[in-house]
């Protein structure tokens, strides 16, 4: 089959609702969205804490989070593998080669991104409004909802950046998920496998969906920043 024929077959696969393709896409979204949700719940409060409060170890945590933003996914995969494998500390839970292990690996990858980027945005905003809020006798804890609200557009961008990293990642989920058919196969691992098998239709179909998802995330980020600046100029 020539490349154009493969591409046509790939598009046919996408529009023929059902089958392995949508199962793989569904699992990818389920794993990445769960990881993003948990990373956001963990990361935003920590980012806010680093933004508004100085304490012993503040610099160490900040530097660690900044460094961890560029963690190699395969290293994270190896770390989580050791953690959840039979002989590891979480071995009793039998998580290896399950979607849960893949979610854990993605949380380890994304949380530093959410913490480090949200800290930057929140700290800049806190420098702008913090003293004024304190002059209204509003304590730091009381000020947090205002701080989050004032930076909502930037924080949404941070979360979308985390999702972009999660959905496109392959190294960690391959190691801890094992790319098992109908169980832990996600878009990136399936693309790698199908390409190596010469099954270009499915690989290309998944590639197109991944690209479209990437495009949608970037479009959402762009629209948000446009909306935010339009809102400021209203």
């Amino acid at each position: 089959m020539t490349e154009p024929q493969s591409f046509t077959a790939a598009l046919m696969l996408i529009f023929q609702w059902g089958g392995d393709l949508w199962e793989i896409i569904g699992l990818s979204l389920q794993v990445s969205l769960t990881a993003v949700l948990i990373s956001t719940i963990l990361g935003l409060p920590l980012g806010a804490l680093l933004a508004v409060k100085r304490f012993r170890g503040h610099h160490a945590i900040t530097i660690t989070m900044n460094t961890a933003m560029s963690l190699p996914p395969v290293v994270v995969g190896l770390f989580v593998y050791l953690l959840v494998s039979r002989s590891g500390p979480l071995g009793v839970f039998g998580l290896l080669f399950t979607p849960t292990a893949m979610v854990i690996a993605q949380i380890v990858l994304i949380t530093p991104i959410v913490v480090a980027l949200s800290r930057q945005h929140l700290q800049l905003e806190w420098e702008r409004i913090g003293e004024q809020l304190r002059s209204f006798n509003i304590g730091k804890l009381q000020a947090l909802p205002t701080l989050f609200w004032e930076t909502r557009a930037a924080l949404t961008t941070v979360v979308l950046a985390g999702f972009g990293r999660a959905i496109a990642e392959i190294g960690a989920v391959m190691i801890v998920g094992g790319n098992i058919d109908h169980l832990t196969r996600v878009m990136t691992t399936a693309i790698a496998l199908e390409t190596s098998k010469g099954n270009l239709e499915l690989a290309m179909a998944l590639g197109v969906v991944l690209l479209v998802l990437s495009l949608l995330v970037n479009a959402a980020v762009h629209c948000l920043s446009q909306w935010s600046s339009r809102g400021a100029a209203k």
Binding site: R134, S135, N137, E150
Partner: protein, 238 residues
């Protein structure tokens, strides 16, 4: 020097000092601010005027000495307007409503509208506060302070970056607040403004309060050589 009356004291400093990162920025401050007065804080750049205001307002804690807010059990309602107005990314009306969060909802909106009318900004109530001009933002900041019904208002060079028309607006509203009974403590570089508005002057240089006098006395017989030189230099520049 101003004679202090302990029954009318609003803010009292006893040997107060402030050090940041090992550097003593304010030192040995002993004074009492007369309750109800309009006090201008003068001094050259870097003298410590803004730090002094932040200490008074409680945004900074003294590293030495004791600072007390009058003889009352409850600290007075106070707020501060900064040189660069700080606006939340919401409408002008919402910016005022935000500081009235402890009021009942209906009263909050009514009071915020009154504040906008008081400042002559009611036509801008639905505009985003962050896109108003510098002068409008500063008037909004003063209106927001007015809405809080403060007993003491701190102003840190509120007209420093405004054009003369905006400066007049802000001055008029600050003066109106003072006339309605609000005690005011304002740092400024503008000697004419201090003379126009203030009842008394605190002169700060190198982190020390060098003079604390009624305004007329300060300009005719400054309490220290440094204040005399400062006035002479500023007048020569004008």
């Amino acid at each position: 020097m101003i004679a202090t009356n302990q029954t009318s004291v609003a803010v009292s400093f006893t040997d107060v000092s402030l050090a940041l990162n090992g550097t003593e920025l304010l030192k040995g401050i002993n004074l009492t601010l007369t309750k109800g007065a309009f006090t201008a804080v003068l001094g050259p750049n870097g003298a410590g005027k803004s730090l002094f205001l932040r200490l008074c307002h409680g945004l900074l804690a003294p590293t030495g000495g004791k600072l007390t807010w009058g003889d009352e059990q409850v600290s007075p309602v106070q707020t501060m307007v900064f040189q660069k107005p700080v606006m939340l990314r919401r409408t002008a009306l919402e910016n005022i409503m935000y500081v009235l969060r402890n009021y009942p909802k209906a009263e909050r909106a009514q009071r915020a509208q009154q504040a906008l009318q008081w400042a002559g900004l009611e036509h801008l109530s639905e505009r985003m506060a962050t896109v108003l001009s510098g002068g409008q933002q500063q008037r909004l900041a003063v209106a927001r302070a007015w809405a809080l019904k403060p007993e003491i208002l701190f102003l840190d060079e509120p007209t420093a970056s405004l054009d003369p028309a905006a400066c007049d607006h802000v001055e008029a509203h600050v003066k109106a607040m003072h006339e309605s009974g609000v005690q005011i403590l304002m740092s400024t570089h503008n000697l004419a403004q201090a003379r126009r508005l203030a009842d008394e002057v605190i002169y700060i240089q190198d982190g020390q309060v060098m003079a604390h006098q009624p305004v007329n006395e300060f300009f005719t017989q400054p309490g220290c050589e440094e204040a005399y030189e400062f006035i002479k230099r500023e007048v020569a520049i004008v």
